[in-house]
């Protein structure tokens, strides 16, 4: 009796499962459209590549980031910003750096002196694998997701500012509207839908690219292989995932 019931339950369970699968397949066949696959975090590992040679300092990424993520338009609140470096031959370790309004309106034109090199460096959250900001959060309001994106849970953040202090890259700020920490999300709401981030979407030269390091078909692998690659502050052992090509060693 007991066995029969057990067998019946197993058989009916299997039948239910089969009909479900068959119905799904039939539906897809009839409607001629793919059933949207749910986003699987475990099969992605997100990062970004930035080619310094391609960046022309237009600042469209800074503007797009604020538009996409409703970042405050006052200066000093940035999820991404662009710095202009002027490196002089005789003092390579002390470059002149400016970033008027984070590069939001572009940069005022300058003429380079003969002994200097000028280039632009877009900066943002590095989505570190061993992120100091995650380690110091006392409540678990900031964390690295399974797919390698460092996020802030704004409904749970206390606004204690430890993470702002801990980030070696200065990528975090306190949003005065909510009194919680805020930073780049790598446009998680876009990349998890198969889109690119707002900054990469608008970049006219393709200097910024979203990279899925777990996707073997992603051009990031060729990019990392074929370019001289650096990350910012490697000595901090944070394992950043924003990879800069052709970066000058004077950049901090």
């Amino acid at each position: 009796m007991e066995t029969a019931r057990r067998e019946f339950l197993i058989a009916s369970g299997r039948l239910l499962l089969l009909t479900g699968v068959a119905a799904g397949a039939l539906d897809a066949m009839l409607n001629g459209e793919e059933v949207p696959e749910p986003y699987r975090a475990a099969s992605h590992w997100w990062g970004m590549t930035i080619d310094i040679k391609k960046c022309i300092g237009c600042g469209l990424c800074v503007k797009a980031c604020k538009d996409e993520n409703n970042v405050l338009h006052e200066p000093y609140y940035f999820r991404t910003w662009v710095e202009r470096y002027r490196v002089r031959e005789q003092d390579r370790e002390h470059p002149l750096v400016d970033s008027p309004n984070g590069g939001y309106d572009g940069f005022p034109a300058i003429e380079a002196r003969e002994d200097e090199r000028v280039f632009f460096v877009p900066k943002m959250c590095n989505h570190c694998v061993d992120s100091p900001c995650v380690q110091v959060c006392p409540v678990g309001a900031t964390f690295r997701t399974e797919d390698g994106v460092v996020l802030v849970d704004k409904s749970y953040c206390l606004g204690c500012r430890y993470c702002v202090q801990a980030c070696p890259y200065g990528c975090r700020y306190i949003d005065p509207r909510t009194q919680t920490a805020d930073k780049c999300t790598l446009c998680y709401h876009r990349i998890s839908k198969g889109l690119t981030s707002a900054c990469a979407e608008v970049c006219p030269t393709g200097a910024r690219q979203i990279a899925d390091l777990k996707n073997p078909a992603d051009p990031v692998h060729a990019f990392l292989r074929e370019n001289p690659i650096q990350v910012l502050k490697p000595s901090m052992a944070t394992e950043p995932k924003v990879f800069y090509a052709n970066l000058d060693s004077s950049v901090r």
Partner: protein
Amino acid sequence: VIGREFALRPSVKDWLHLVRLAGLFAAGTVAFLVIRPIFVPESFGAIGHYRAAAVVEARERPLNFADGTACETCHSDVVALRQEKHSRHVNIRCQSCHGPLGEHVATSGERRPTLPDVVPLCARCHERSAGRPPQMPQVKTAEHSGGEKCSACHAPHAPGMQ
């Protein structure tokens, strides 16, 4: 002698100490079990030391910039024009200049974006300045156009001279 007497005849009162302790411990445990779910949010710890629901919330935020491939469905003429004229702007995404068009796409074109202010927009990339590659077309706008709008001579979608 008094101490010896005490050790040999434990009274009921002494056992009460242990009962009190056990009672306190039980009350503490109950209080912990009751209070903990109030302070620990739902789904906390399901994946890691954070609210698992926060990841889903971050994914479901609305877009302001549309999917860049959506423009082609209605504006194929512009896409075709850029290709026909071998436009140097052929690879530039629509929203780079036109701004966020998420609402425009979501309302099937009902919400119209405002046209960008061309002179500062063009100058962002084309104002002659150090740090830009030499092959990149650059001008000193003040000398180049004498205050005339860029679009008076250059069509933004195919910016060679008209």
